[in-house]
Symmetry: C2
Amino acid sequence: MRNDTLLRALLREPTEYTPVWLMRQAGRYLPEYNATRAKAGSFLALAKNPTLAAEVTLQPLERFALDAAIVFSDILTVPDAMGLGLGFTEGEGPKFERPLREEREIRKLAPPDLRKLEYVFGAIRESRSGLGGRVPLIGFSGSPFTLACYMVEGTGSDDWRTVKAMRHSRPDLLHAILKVNARAVTDYLNAQIEAGAQAVMVFDTWGGALAFDDYEPFSLAYSREVLKALKKEHEGRRVPSVLFTKGGNPWLGAIAASGADAIGLDWTSDPREARRIAAGRVALQGNFDPAALFAPADAVRAEARRVLDRFGPAPGHVFNLGHGILQKTPIDSVSALVDEVRAYSRKMRSAPAPAA
Amino acid sequence: MRNDTLLRALLREPTEYTPVWLMRQAGRYLPEYNATRAKAGSFLALAKNPTLAAEVTLQPLERFALDAAIVFSDILTVPDAMGLGLGFTEGEGPKFERPLREEREIRKLAPPDLRKLEYVFGAIRESRSGLGGRVPLIGFSGSPFTLACYMVEGTGSDDWRTVKAMRHSRPDLLHAILKVNARAVTDYLNAQIEAGAQAVMVFDTWGGALAFDDYEPFSLAYSREVLKALKKEHEGRRVPSVLFTKGGNPWLGAIAASGADAIGLDWTSDPREARRIAAGRVALQGNFDPAALFAPADAVRAEARRVLDRFGPAPGHVFNLGHGILQKTPIDSVSALVDEVRAYSRKMRSAPAPAA
């Protein structure tokens, strides 16, 4: 691999600069992505076509000096393969035709036949081949809890009232779903590793919506099961894992002890406090507010330096956004961000280290 | 006043039970509210009619054994009175006709003539008269930052990209707006106190959307200015103040030192950790997940007990939701919640205290 900076940073090894990639970096803010998506016909058709998915996976690397690619896919592929019937309504996001509400249906739930997810593994193989060793390829999945949110609710939600009502009225049923999801996500990520993913990330997008006492038993416990059962090595190399809970501040200590090699931080996290909590056990990824990319390039560069300063020059930081890149993000801002991270962090790391 | 439990709890004085009220308790989940709103013609017409606003303010007290009323109004009355032209689109929330984007417009911004907000003070006077001393009446305002979010963005937003772009490109302009807002909110809340509000609450609904380093200078600093300048006494009695930042976990220590008598907690906060941070300096309000009200009554009661247990029997807790009550919340759940809080907390407080 010509540039393995990301993998080394995720394992807290020294790097010459802070590697950077952007959640949802292959996405609607790129005209070339929109062109490929139009060719595919729909978001889901694009995700299910390995050749086109690999094409959009590689697109952002042509524009920006990114240190990783992430396979283009959706977090809801697993419940779709379980038979819930994933669809997307324009402007309204994902929707399952058959949400899980009835005990009878829940008792029948099983991890999917991985052959139904072959399109993801195919996209990984084609992306790896297209990358030709330039940078590592990241695989990913929704967390067991985040999948359950959509599976029970049927769609995205501002309040997740249906899944939370189940948590209070029939916690046993929610645990039954989560148990199946944990096995499914484990198998899915391990198959991604077999197909060539060189790092994997668990997106716990909605764990942070849980009540304080509920996060550990309903979300973190199942992510931990997944992380524990992941293949640690492939092709003779460590495969680092990342766990990202959006809004995870109240539980950062527990998240840092989850078994992941790195944890994701949104922009409300204090990097200094996160460094203290991580205590050298895990690397940290993220923290730049995606909305700040709507400022002019100079302001974006200043904000990038601020975030880098807050993390400091110690190893174990991967620069990223605190959530997925937003639609209509100006491309010039993304260029400015990526360039500034590379240049400024290289300078930071070559400066004499302050006395510890 | 026949029941001043809320006021005493907000000042951390001993009470016989934990007082309870619910954010947005006068709202769309009540059929009688919907009937009055239909009579008024629209949400805004209802808010601007002191007699009808007082009518809906009192409605929830007829159904539930609540320990406070909160005047029915909107958080955006102040920028409306500044001339931005507040409107509501059905199902899409608030929208300003003239959002603040241009420096020229921002430089002209001034605190509103309070006579334009006379309908709020009238609603307070009529509510006080209708209450006849049963329970205290709470007044409120959006925080300077939360008002600025809507004033700049023009509507609600998932990402507040416009106001955040301004924060990075022209922080001086955002500070100029916040400075005017802080004076306006101070005058507005003091006038509410003069009109009869017996406690006041600052709703910082969107401060928690800020990047970690930005919360203090762009939100908390201005809420603190307001809190400092509030009348502390009226009608010979202390007027307690509450500051609530949704998603405020990363800054709870600073929020507790803001000068408010009590701070609001959403459901992701750990009550034990909040008690530790508050360290007896401020009371705590909130924490019950509004989505849990969609569970059956028995489960709602169990969850209410769990929240009460987490706070423990020490003085200085006001039971509330962690955010406004949701549309379509079952009324039976609300009854069960309010009754359980009263009964269980009375039992908790009469039990022998554990050794400290």
